[in-house]
């Protein structure tokens, strides 16, 4: 037996504010995830009221009756839990698609803690264990983070981590390929400045690979801090200069930059590109990783196909590595 549970991220289905709203669409996605070999789903915090019905605990309750009723709906689709919510503090929930507080503003701590606990409570009630947060603003917004800025972020995440620990939920700092943490050793500096007991690291293989950071090496370096894993693949990298393009979320991530990259993220499969999944999962096994592994495509023209192809790869290749049952060819 393994202490690892496998989930699949729902974000590839929820592509816009007016998609993935019907319960029937949720049901078909959850059943597809379940029969592909996953026992959990990862949700993303979204702000567009009732048109994003999985986006907040309130919307879950509004559509399904209560958070617990949503859990029963998942169970009816043979899904055991919501592994995690992914929350970016710059998203505001007071108004639809609103802007949230700036995590570099020391005065924002209280509001972010309040929101984090809102999600953590739902995660706990849905059988999950991790709140994944966007740990820092984008590189283009801040440039390399100063020691003072690292200190502000450390205070924020120490406070959030301690608060949600009371709900039995662990905090995982997530680093995407546009994050300011990619600059000037930001990941290591922030980890060093935060409380190892309450602030963990979420490794997202594709985001790191695009940023030119080897996820296997990063995991090995911080294995004792890693509380959450997201497995996805990528085929292109983005250097620091490109990541520093003003409004890079729009012009690089969405529009594809000067190279006009149409798709950044891919499901893990035996057609692997930048990410050495077998090496990564081998490292997880070596260090005795316990927790959720969330598989995702993030973007996909064919969500069911992505979940099923990734399911094959997990069942036939990755799980046997993790569980020590792989038979050499």
């Amino acid at each position: 037996m393994s202490d690892v549970r496998w989930a699949y991220a729902i974000n590839q289905w929820d592509t816009n504010i007016d998609s993935f709203v019907r319960k029937r669409e949720h049901e078909r996605a959850f059943k597809t995830v379940s029969i592909s070999g996953f026992s959990g789903v990862e949700l993303t915090a979204e702000s567009f009221g009732a048109w994003e019905p999985l986006g907040t605990p309130q919307q879950l309750a509004d559509l399904y009756g209560s958070v617990e009723e949503f859990g029963r709906f998942l169970a009816s689709c043979a899904i055991d839990a919501v592994s995690s919510y992914v929350y970016d503090p710059s998203v505001g929930f007071e108004v639809e698609m609103g802007r949230g507080p700036d995590p570099l503003d020391p005065a924002a701590v209280e509001q972010i803690v309040r929101t984090a606990r809102w999600f953590a409570d739902a995660i706990r009630r849905l059988g999950g264990s991790v709140l994944v947060v966007r740990a820092a603003p984008s590189a283009w917004q801040t440039g390399p983070l100063s020691d003072d800025q690292i200190g502000v972020l450390a205070t924020l995440w120490n406070t959030v981590g301690a608060a949600i620990a009371e709900d039995g939920v662990t905090l995982g700092l997530h680093v995407d390929f546009l994050s300011a943490l990619r600059l000037d050793d930001g990941i290591h500096r922030l980890l060093a400045a935060t409380d190892a007991d309450t602030v963990g690291l979420a490794i997202d293989t594709a985001e790191l690979a695009i940023a030119g950071i080897d996820p296997v090496a990063l995991y090995r370096q911080h294995a004792d801090r890693v509380v959450h894993v997201q497995l996805k693949d990528a085929r292109e990298t983005v250097d620091d200069a490109e990541a520093s393009t003003p409004h890079a979320e729009q012009f690089i991530r969405t529009e594809g930059g000067a190279r006009k990259i149409l798709r950044w993220f891919f499901e893990p499969s035996d057609e692997r590109a930048l990410v050495d999944f077998e090496g990564f999962v081998g490292a997880l096994a070596e260090h005795g990783y316990r927790g959720w592994i969330v598989v995702e495509s993030d973007q996909s023209p064919h969500p069911a196909e992505s979940a099923m192809v990734a399911g094959w790869y997990v069942q036939k290749v990755l799980r046997p590595i993790l569980e020590g049952t792989r038979v050499s060819a």
């Binding site: 029969i35 592909s36 043979a78 069911a304 196909e305 399911g311 094959w312």
Partner: protein, 320 residues
């Protein structure tokens, strides 16, 4: 954990996906085939069925049928179980009701079985009658001629260890319950078997459970698929093929487990169990991509239903 019943699930290999150049199927490339097979295996199917008109593509891409089956097995599936013999029947050259064409039909099957002899199939599936676009359907003599040639073909296929088995499309000449019963009353049960397609029968207003129970002794396989519509407008008379040319219903077939499905799969599974059927059940949902549908998703949903609903029905009763 639910005990798995003595049933294995095979997927009939209809498939389309969209790529950069538009829609494609799994025969486009080895990569497309690998991804298709991985998806089928990932959701727990044990095997696939196919069409035998793919033979030339198999030779070109894989070298031999055995090589292709090996490729299937490398993706975690056991084997190829059944093949569907797709032929466009025409009274001047190839029609079961026309004795003058029977020599051609026999030669065709001899050639086909030789080409597929590199692997062991369970069934070769045929449409036992031509399409008859008038209300009368196949005349009684035609039923007898068809029964006669399929008996001869079945005797031939059994020399290869393969059953000749008949599949009744809702638009085909042998479609009503009366036609089906008469056809089997004329056909030699040793050589002419029956392949139950739950949706096709349902569309033709034939109860699939009832017709299975009437002929269960010669049933050698199933297509478990669903529909939301019966043919109440004589769509079966539409040329050339009501599955794709009916004007009132643009999509006939849905994966089992679909909402608003007309087939009672739980009753079907109970009947399968009670009649002691064990072995392969094939799942099919051809044209699943119509009206915005998605083959991959339909395949996942159907297998979810088999695992979470139908397997339990089979084993619960056995445990009593």
């Amino acid at each position: 954990m639910t005990e798995r019943p003595p049933i294995k699930w095979s997927y009939m290999d209809h498939w389309r996906a969209n790529g950069p150049a538009g829609p494609y199927d799994q025969w486009q490339s080895k990569l497309a085939m690998k991804r298709f097979l991985q998806q089928v295996a990932a959701v727990g199917f044990d095997a696939i069925d196919t069409f035998d008109f793919r033979i030339w593509q198999i030779f070109e891409q894989y070298g031999s049928v055995a090589n292709y089956q090996e490729f299937v097995q490398e993706q975690g599936l056991e084997r190829i179980v059944n093949t569907f013999h797709g032929v466009y029947y025409s009274p001047d050259r190839y029609a079961p009701e026309v004795p003058a064409t029977h020599g051609t039909i026999l030669e065709d099957f001899q050639r086909t079985l030789d080409m597929w002899s590199g692997i062991q199939l369970d069934n070769i599936i045929v449409m036992p009658g031509s399409r008859y676009f008038d209300e009368a359907g196949v005349p009684d003599d035609g039923l007898k001629h068809a029964a006669d040639i399929w008996g001869k073909v079945g005797e031939l296929t059994q020399q290869y260890g393969v059953n000749l088995t008949c599949h009744h499309e809702f638009y085909a000449g042998i479609r009503t319950r009366d036609q089906i019963d008469r056809f089997y009353s004329y056909a030699d049960p040793r050589y002419v078997k029956f392949f139950v397609d739950t949706a096709q029968h349902c569309i033709a207003d034939v109860d699939p459970v009832d017709v299975y129970e009437a002929h269960h002794e010669r049933v050698t396989g199933f297509h478990f698929k669903d529909t939301r519509h019966k043919d109440v407008n004589d769509d079966y008379r539409m040329f050339p093929d009501a599955e794709v040319s009916a004007t009132t219903t643009e999509k006939w077939f849905y994966e089992m487990g679909t909402d608003e499905g007309l087939v009672d799969f739980e009753a079907m599974m109970r009947s399968v169990r009670d009649h002691g059927y064990s072995g392969w059940i094939s799942v099919e949902h051809d044209k699943a991509d119509k009206l915005g549908g998605d083959y991959a998703e339909s395949t996942a949903i159907s297998r979810w239903y088999a695992k979470n609903v139908l397997d339990g029905i089979y084993t619960e009763e056995v445990a009593r």
